[in-house]
């Protein structure tokens, strides 16, 4: 087992404190014991999670990022398919990642835990990036990955820019029309989710919050129809057929949507907490302005 990861972790103890001041308290625990910004930034970074893929591609210096996950090449969920094509893809399996000799692995907090645990046992430094549930989390993750890649300034600049553009988008919200997120099987998400936060940031009220669904859950079609939201945002359909997605074409939902001028779908911009969600918020804000214009 190569011991190369161990010294860098010890060296980093001081720098870790420095980061702790910047990152939110919840992130500190994740940082301790993981890689961080030392004078010698990681040179071979492998990302195994769609969202860290995208942040790493945005922030890494040339040649620093060795591989991104296969999901980054899926146009349905990835907003950076073209960029991802320039990197070798991995499938997040412990063996293949280890053989890439990474000096930093970027992983999601909950995904692929067995493979990530295995890599840690093999002495590979792993940064588990928490799931973004709010706009503040997005900015924090940008800074976190920037620091981990030794690109603190780039991370700070991107985060600051993100916060500024977000504020601009939120200005001038005059009314709060209601909207519902409605995807396959009638699944919806509330305020404690990134997509719920996108709705709020764009100036909408979320039907799921009234229905008592803070994180995510099934919104019965009857409840959706009775709530009569000003906007229904469905998920983009996957290839192939499924009964789960039939609900999106149910006559009751069709009637509800036909009363609305806009037919909006969530897309790859909604999936990850990267600056790309500003595009999703922007598109939604235009929907809101169109609704305001109607009234």
């Amino acid at each position: 087992m190569p011991p190369r990861a161990v010294p860098s972790m010890l060296d980093c103890a001081l720098t870790g404190k420095h980061i702790a001041r910047r990152a939110t308290a919840g992130l500190v625990a994740l940082l301790v014991g993981a890689a961080c910004a030392c004078a010698d930034a990681p040179k071979r970074v492998v990302s195994v999670n769609l969202c860290t893929d995208q942040l790493a591609m945005l922030l890494a210096s040339p040649g620093q990022l060795v591989s991104v996950s296969n999901i980054a090449s899926d146009p349905l969920v990835s907003a950076m398919v073209d960029e991802a094509a320039e990197y070798p893809m991995n499938f997040g399996r412990a063996e293949e990642v280890y053989l890439l000799h990474p000096d930093l692995v970027l992983a999601g907090q909950y995904a692929r835990t067995e493979a990530v645990d295995m890599l840690e046992r093999l002495g590979v430094p792993v940064l588990r990036v928490p799931f973004a549930r709010s706009m503040a989390d997005v900015a924090a993750n940008i800074r976190l990955i920037g620091t981990a890649l030794g690109r603190e300034e780039a991370g700070e600049a991107m985060a600051t820019d993100f916060e500024a553009r977000l504020l601009t988008l939120q200005e001038g919200v005059r009314s709060n029309p209601s909207a519902a997120l409605y995807s396959a099987n009638g699944y919806t998400t509330g305020a404690m989710s990134l997509s719920g936060q996108i709705l709020l940031a764009a100036g909408f009220e979320n039907v799921a919050d009234d229905a008592g669904i803070p994180y995510g859950g099934v919104l019965p079609m009857e409840v959706l129809v009775m709530a009569a939201p000003d906007l229904v945002i469905t998920s983009s359909p996957y290839p192939g057929a499924s009964r789960s997605e039939d609900v999106l074409r149910h006559p009751a939902v069709q009637v509800l949507r036909s009363q609305q001028r806009r037919a909006t779908m969530s897309d790859q911009d909604w999936v990850c907490g990267t600056p790309r969600i500003l595009a999703a918020i922007e598109a939604l804000a235009q929907d809101r302005q169109a609704l305001e214009g109607d009234n």
Partner: protein, 326 residues
């Protein structure tokens, strides 16, 4: 006659109860008037596009399954014969799944019930060929188990191979059945198949009565057994194919209902047919109301409820059959 009136009343009462049951908390009177007279707001939409189709489907599917169970039991003179247990429903589900996931038909198009009908036809033919009209209970059930297992495995395989991430999670729907979020489109899809199936099986009533005296007796009475058998196969396949395409495979309705009603009709197959049709509608409506009241947010599958009622009865029937043989 009293049985007929009682069952009809139960079907109608449960139909009304089904219409006023749902996650949207609305008053019963208000809901029913919105259904009939329309009005402003979203309530008429809920009643007409969501609850009405669901209630109608429960009646059609339950009735169809009860009827086909009674017909199969009459023909095979075996109380264990039931479309779900002898693998016909699983074969129909396989037909539907193959049609949807190979892109042959879109779900919600008329091709779907035809594909399920094809699967059901193959299923019934296989069972009858394996078990035969003279075959005992054991051969029938074994043939059913084999066909169910094979069709179930192939259904899972097709769903697992689908590029759609939701497909694999739908294995449960196809094996257990549900009426959640079905629409009026599905009512129109199902109706012709139920009509054809019921029409065909209704012509069998006197033939099934004659069969109680044995095949030779029935033949001397002038019944063409080959034709009777073909009519039965197509009728059952039309009903099971149509219902499975719309609501997945719902088991045990065709077992429980004829069993409960048999004593009331003097064990006469022709009378058991219509009684089981009405009884099946009662049972499935009860099951569908139960899944909405007990666990409204979980989309509990209908087949779970019918199996909880039906499986103990099935075991009881096996025990009785064994005792009879000993």
């Amino acid at each position: 006659m009293r049985l007929f009136l009682g069952l009809t009343f139960a079907v109608l009462a449960l139909f009304a109860a089904s219409l006023v049951t749902g996650p949207a908390q609305t008053g019963a009177v208000e809901s029913l008037s919105a259904l009939m007279f329309g009005g402003d707001g979203p309530l008429p939409l809920v009643m007409r596009e969501i609850r009405l189709p669901r209630a109608v489907l429960a009646v059609l599917i339950g009735g169809g399954l009860g009827l086909s169970g009674a017909a199969l039991q009459g023909y095979l003179r075996n109380p264990l014969a039931e479309p779900g247990l002898i693998g016909v429903s699983s074969a129909a589900a396989l037909g539907a799944v193959i049609a949807i996931h190979t892109g042959l038909v879109a779900s919600g198009s008329l091709g779907l019930p035809f594909a399920a009908l094809g699967g059901a036809l193959i299923g019934v033919f296989l069972v009858l060929a394996l078990a035969g009209a003279q075959g005992g209970s054991l051969t029938l059930i074994l043939a059913g188990i084999a066909i169910s297992a094979l069709a179930g495995a192939l259904t899972s395989l097709v769903l697992n191979l689908s590029p759609n991430p939701f497909a694999a999670s739908e294995i449960v729907f196809w094996m257990m059945g549900s009426l959640a979020d079905r629409s009026i489109v599905h009512v129109w899809l199902l109706l012709p198949f139920i009509a054809v199936g019921v029409g065909l099986i209704a012509t069998l009533a006197r033939g099934l009565d004659a069969l109680t005296l044995g095949e030779d007796a029935a033949q001397t009475m002038g019944f063409d057994l080959k034709r009777l058998r073909l009519t039965l196969v197509i009728g059952v396949a039309a009903i099971v194919g149509g219902t499975t395409a719309v609501a997945g495979a719902i088991g045990f309705v065709g077992l429980v209902v004829p069993h409960i009603l048999r004593p009331f009709v003097g064990a006469q197959p022709s009378r058991l047919l219509w009684a089981s049709g009405l009884g099946g509608a009662v049972m499935l409506q009860l099951a569908d109301i139960t899944v909405r009241v007990v666990m409204p947010e979980r989309d509990l599958k209908l087949g779970v409820v019918t199996a909880l009622v039906g499986a103990p009865l099935f075991l009881h029937l096996i025990y009785k059959t064994r005792a009879g043989q000993a």
